[in-house]
């Protein structure tokens, strides 16, 4: 049976589709024959589990992230690998979730991350269930920030977040988190079994004029891939409001910024 998903602030309650545990047998002839495939147990501290957890992290941020709610995995507890044949590879993982802006433990999550076959170049598919008590209610801060920006006389902008020594101005912190959440849309799409993506730096961001209820921002962001060690430069156009959540409207990768010949980035 399906259970309905409620989203209030950060309280996400239940599954999107039923979680099929490896052990339960399925009735032959039905569409989910995949459930009968053996799930190979993985070492939760090894990279396949870590990379899958990172993808689940990105997924959670795209759904529930905000300038005051930014999620990360604080350790994989259990992991399994299911060979889906032509479909690809599916990871079953259990990991602890942390809300990073408050360094708050959010309890255990279990996720299924399906990496399609490499030649299909499709983004990974994620299903995720999180349990535990969500006492974080950020609607007050979100509303406050939203109103401040709506009523401001000039458009906000910022740059160099964090600076060289890792410092972020407290005023800028919500925009660092917002950048991280928006980056998760890109990182989710760009992830595969050979990547481990994080946002590394916000070169600059600018608030744009809007006519509707959404706030709109242009971000120049650097992503870091731990596996290749590359820095990837992306330009994002994103919208946010407390009701609408974070959405990425446009995204552009700048491939020219790979080499830094002297001291300036060439555009």
């Amino acid at each position: 049976a399906h259970t309905v998903l409620y989203i209030t602030g950060l309280q996400f309650v239940l599954k999107l589709t039923p979680h099929t545990p490896a052990a339960s047998p399925s009735v032959p002839g039905q569409e989910d024959i995949q459930a009968a495939m053996p799930v190979e147990e993985l070492d939760p501290s090894h990279y396949p589990a870590t990379r899958a957890a990172k993808v689940a992290e990105h997924f959670i941020n795209t759904r529930y992230g905000s300038p005051f709610a930014w999620f990360g995995s604080s350790g994989v507890k259990k992991a399994g690998l299911e060979d889906m044949g032509v479909l690809g590879t599916k990871y079953h993982i259990e990991f602890t979730l942390k809300e990073m802006t408050r360094n708050q433990d959010m309890g255990l999550c279990s996720a299924e991350v399906l990496f399609h076959r490499a030649d299909e170049r499709k983004p990974p598919q994620v299903q995720c269930t999180c349990s535990g008590a969500f006492q974080v209610n950020t609607s007050a801060e979100e509303e406050d920030l939203y109103q401040r920006l709506r009523n401001a006389t000039s458009l906000l902008s910022g740059s160099d977040i964090p600076n060289s020594v890792g410092h972020i101005d407290p005023e800028m912190a919500p925009f660092w988190h917002l950048g991280g959440v928006a980056s998760s849309f890109i990182m989710l799409r760009e992830s595969n079994e050979s990547t481990l993506l994080n946002m590394a730096h916000i070169d600059n961001f600018t608030q744009m004029e809007t006519k509707d209820a959404q706030l709109m921002f242009q971000y120049d962001i650097l992503l870091h891939d731990m596996v290749s060690q590359e820095i990837l430069k992306w330009k994002l156009l994103l919208s946010w409001s407390p009701d609408g959540g974070v959405k990425v409207l446009e995204a552009e990768w700048d491939p020219k910024c790979q080499a830094i010949p002297t001291s300036s980035i060439l555009y």
């Binding site: 501290s45 090894h46 870590t50 020594v165 994080n198 731990m226 290749s228 060690q229 001291s263 300036s264």
Partner: protein
Amino acid sequence: MKWCHVRDVLDFNRHRGFFIDGAGDGVKFSMFSSAGRALLLLLLLLLDCAADRSTERNYEYTKYHPMPEISAWMQQMVEENPGLVSSEVYGTTYERRDIMFLKIGVDQDGVQKKAIWMDCGIHAREWIAPAFCQWFVKEMLLRYKTDKKVGEMLNNLDFYVTPVLNVDGYMYTWINESTRLWRKSRSSPPESCSCPGVDLNRNFYANWGMIGVSRNCCDNTYCGAKALSEPEARAVTEFVGNRSGEILCYLTIHSAGQLLLMPYGHPQIWAPNYDELMRVGQAAVRAMGSVHGMEYRVGTSPDLLYPNSGSSRDWARLIGIPFSYTFELRDKGQFGHKLPEDQIQPACEEAFEGARVIITYVHDKAFHNRTDIGAAGMAAALWTSMLASCLTTMLLV
């Protein structure tokens, strides 16, 4: 006016037979005999302490420092600790800068001692690593008198510590925001390619060019036109290679990921002492986790992170140095290589405990033929170190 920490004053006066009644935040005293002379000596000591400008106490270890400040700090460490700290230039970078280590250990009349090697900053953007090397030197010097084990180790061993190996790259990352995330060296590109720099940790003569590298000079894991194409890698290879008989342990410090990596970087090649490396590594990450609750994992690079070749850690193990580890310090992606300065202290504290476990094991195996890592022993070591660190980091102004 700066006060010495209480232990110093107490020890000094205990040795001279005075009765001193010490309190935690000051020193109250009552004398029994030769009151005048005792008082004078004590006053002189306090004045001397008041003028304590020792760099190990006064340098800002919780800030990131540009290269000139690190070089000046190294100079001062040598000047202020004769017989305990010396330095040597053991190579030159591509841009012709000195590569220097500090040699920490009690000078035993020029006798060649067994040694432990530590280098930091092989990757330019990993600023927490040079910060840790400086922190490590400070801790060892402060504990030399107060921690029996550290004192013993400094008597029996020399520690070669290179705060910044990739000097050119490190200086480049200090130019401005657009250079901050540079990783490689700063050598000129080969003819057919247009980007500078080689990944120094893929340039060593250890299965060079086989896996986990790029042949594209614009990539961050470019292994170079050939093994040891980079003078920085050659400097380490020559110095450490000439002393491979004496060097018991090779530690190389990086960020990020919170990992302790063991040889080898190839998924199908195993170190002969894998079990021992794992056992010691597990004790180390347990110690690291116990300081601030941060999760560190231990294992080979192909298991935990990715396969690679040409790393300095692999090369050290290959030439016979039995213990070789890569430390990947904080964090796990929230700030990555741009770790905020307010995390320098906790990151260094936990890294120090991990390094201590490894160093202590290596020392005890060589000098006491002891290979157990008793929980009690470790707890005692932890307690002593925390107590010592508590007392020695008191800086009253």
